[in-house]
Symmetry: C2
Subunit: 419 residues, 2 copies
DNA sequence: CCCATTTAATTCAACCACTGAACAAATAGT
DNA sequence: ACTATTTGTTCAGTGGTTGAATTAAATGGG
């Protein structure tokens, strides 16, 4: 996919771009900023030099650039034992660039602002049934939210460096929403419709200010952001459909054309019930929201995802046998599908997100059972199954986080933006 | 998604190494060599400069290093129209470093030598039933083959820069064969057993001279090598078991622990027949060699993979209805499993390899049918299904190719090897 | 046939960014 | 106060790219 910095595959084949003179500094800016971002306590220049193998002189020069560009700030030295000149700690600036995350979903709109360090500095959710609205109307309301987020960022001294919009549907490489069935959208050109709304239009140093992405993908990124420990996992978003975000080595895997993650249509039983996709026995017909609600005796409720999950969870914790059986059946089907994925990709962690996060107490046991039974390598390296750390905010936060993550990965773009 | 670039994680691999002074040249060596390797006709220095954005001066300097290190050779200018001094073409050297590929399988041993340009310069297959032999005995025979390959390389003026051994089983990161069920191997430490056999022991500039890898993985690499066009595909190896090699963006995906590709145990029907892995209804119970032979009325034949495939193909082309039905059923099951994979990973190509390559004429239709029916994005971007270009040699050639590919990706290692 | 034109490759001074060592700054211990 | 110790900066030195000028080798027109 790409130009200079594409998502790197397992082999570090850096043959993408030529290395010009200035690339050296460009790369070292990224190296040093990366260390500052991933360190658990503010590191000193000397510590970074020791870690990276660069000279202290080089690190100092690089850090000067980063501070001048408002990406890094110095903090007072933390009390330390032993002799020697005290180190000045370095951390990501809390008043530099920030990312704007936006989300359009079936029953709410959301916006949030995340600073370089990953802290959520502003967050607003507005509930409303979006289905009766046209894309233009829905986006108009989104622009309002974005405006308020921008104002909040200004008050906080933050500069919005880009925005990411999460949509529950298939999005192509240009931000065109090919299909968002639950919103009733088809071929909606979001960037074109938003043209003229300042924070969401144009390009920032060659990068479009607004990126549109699938909700499940961004939710997976949000989880990566919230729990930085695990580098490879499968994030399953249980909503009306079932999406999966695949994170490999700390990077989202998007597939050959960017439409990876359609876990909902992985076959569970080839002779099973007919699915709206045309296949038979897809996971969605067993563990989709409609299927679970139907099995639990709540058919036809037509609830938004989180309400449905909440109600199921209430019933299950009250001991309702039908609800529990429904969840057990769904968890088993989910386990079968996920076992196939884990066998194929050899992942060690499965995260239950979206509506499944709420239902995790009842879904986890059957999922884990199937994984233990069906995953070939489960015997000597067990697969862990856990609920998502962030709840439904995962996608907005993940989207905003993706913006700042891009800056951290390639700070030269931000530093050279004025020229 | 949005656009061309990918959201990169902070923990991504390319911030791992600091960029020191010499890295500049190191990277540009890789960039220039990469262009020479991937160009369809020998490019000139000027063309490389124009392509990469480097100066002609820099390209000349880099090319001088590459020629001095016997990685690149000049060829006579090809007749060209128009005025101007004729360009001197550059191509990968045919007398520089080469890769040694080795394979141990149930019924044969193989060795081959591949030069930098990817040409197979030596190839030897020795048929023998390996199952009654101990690992030590089997490896002793392999060492003989390797010795002859080395002699052949010497005669051709090639220097072996490393070796890769393909094994039909699970291999860990250190070359330990955890389990090779069809060979009857368990926890066989191949590098230790080969210690003392010169081309297969020790390290070459930090990289072990011998790499051991799963046969299915290497077969996928061989296919990538043979048909360089497709960058992302699923390579399915139908042998006694069913393995898959996943190639994403031109690189093999190995999973979190290196055990990806267990397609044989992806569930096809959760209530299906019990599988030797402990699960139920795994793909292997429908499309494994034993299952197909049984359904075709050849149960208990205990044939080596390619013989079995050959005999089935003969029966099917003779019109035998039982064989055809067996292949159709296997293809359908395979299609169901692969549809799940394609939905999840969004791949656009599926390659039928190993024994399946021979059976492709009968397997392809049902596989394609299932994919069309079950893959969500099939409507607007069809998935192509084809037989492997290389037959059973895929794995040896892929292994040897992996050695030279590593040199092309990081030529500085080879160039600096003497010091 | 000679010379202008064109494209390829090399040479060389300039420059950018890293290197290594020396030095200044700031603290703890004696 | 003095030394040991660690941090951060300054500065000459160097590797490698840059850009322009130069040489090399062909075509084509007069």
């Amino acid at each position: 996919m790409g130009t200079v910095w594409h998502c790197q595959a397992v082999t570090s084949a850096n043959i993408a771009g030529a290395v010009r003179q200035g690339s050296l500094r460009e790369l070292n800016l990224a190296v040093v900023l990366g260390r500052i971002a991933t360190a658990d306590r503010p590191p000193s220049r000397a510590a970074i030099a020791a870690d990276t193998g660069l000279t202290r002189a080089t690190v100092s020069a690089v850090v000067d650039d980063l501070i001048a560009g408002r990406l890094v700030a110095e903090v007072d030295p933390e009390p330390r034992t032993g002799a020697g000149r005290p180190a000045r700690g370095l951390r990501l600036a809390a008043d530099g660039p920030a990312g704007l995350g936006l989300e359009i979903n079936v029953d709410y709109l959301a916006a949030c602002v995340v600073d370089l360090a990953g802290a959520v500095r502003h967050h607003e959710v507005r509930r409303a049934d979006l289905r009766p609205l046209s894309p233009t109307e829905a986006l108009a309301r989104l622009v309002e939210l974005a405006g308020r987020a921008r104002a909040a960022a200004d008050r906080l001294g933050l500069t919005l460096a880009g925005a990411t919009l999460a949509v529950p549907g298939l999005v192509d490489a240009h931000g065109l929403v090919r299909l968002a069935p639950n919103l009733g959208w088809r071929d909606v050109d979001v960037p074109a419709l938003l043209a003229g709304h300042p924070p969401l239009t144009g390009t920032v140093d060659g990068v479009p200010a607004l990126t549109v992405d699938n909700e499940a993908n961004l939710a997976a990124l949000g989880e990566l952001h919230a729990v930085p420990g695990t580098a490879s996992f499968l994030h399953v978003s249980g909503e009306i459909g079932i999406g999966a975000g695949i994170v490999l080595d700390g990077a989202l895997f998007r597939g050959a054309r960017g439409w990876s993650g359609e876990l909902g249509h992985v076959p569970v039983d080839p002779a099973g019930p007919r699915c709206r996709c045309g296949g038979r026995g897809c996971l969605e017909t067993y563990a989709g929201q409609e299927a679970i609600l139907g099995a639990a005796g709540l058919a036809g409720a037509d609830l938004p995802a989180d309400t449905a999950a909440r109600r199921l969870a209430d019933l299950a914790s009250a001991g309702d046998p039908q609800a529990r059986a429904a969840l057990h059946a769904a968890g088993t089907a989910l386990g079968v599908a996920v076992a196939g994925v884990v066998n194929l990709l050899d992942l060690d962690t499965v995260v239950l997100g979206g509506g499944y996060a709420t239902l995790a107490p009842w879904l986890r046991p059957p999922v884990a059972t199937e994984l233990t039974a069906r995953v070939l390598t489960a015997a000597w390296s067990p697969v862990s199954v856990r609920a998502a750390a962030l709840g439904p905010e995962s996608a907005v936060v993940g989207g905003a986080g993706a913006v700042v993550r891009r800056i951290v990965a390639r700070p030269s773009g931000w530093l050279g933006r004025r020229e």
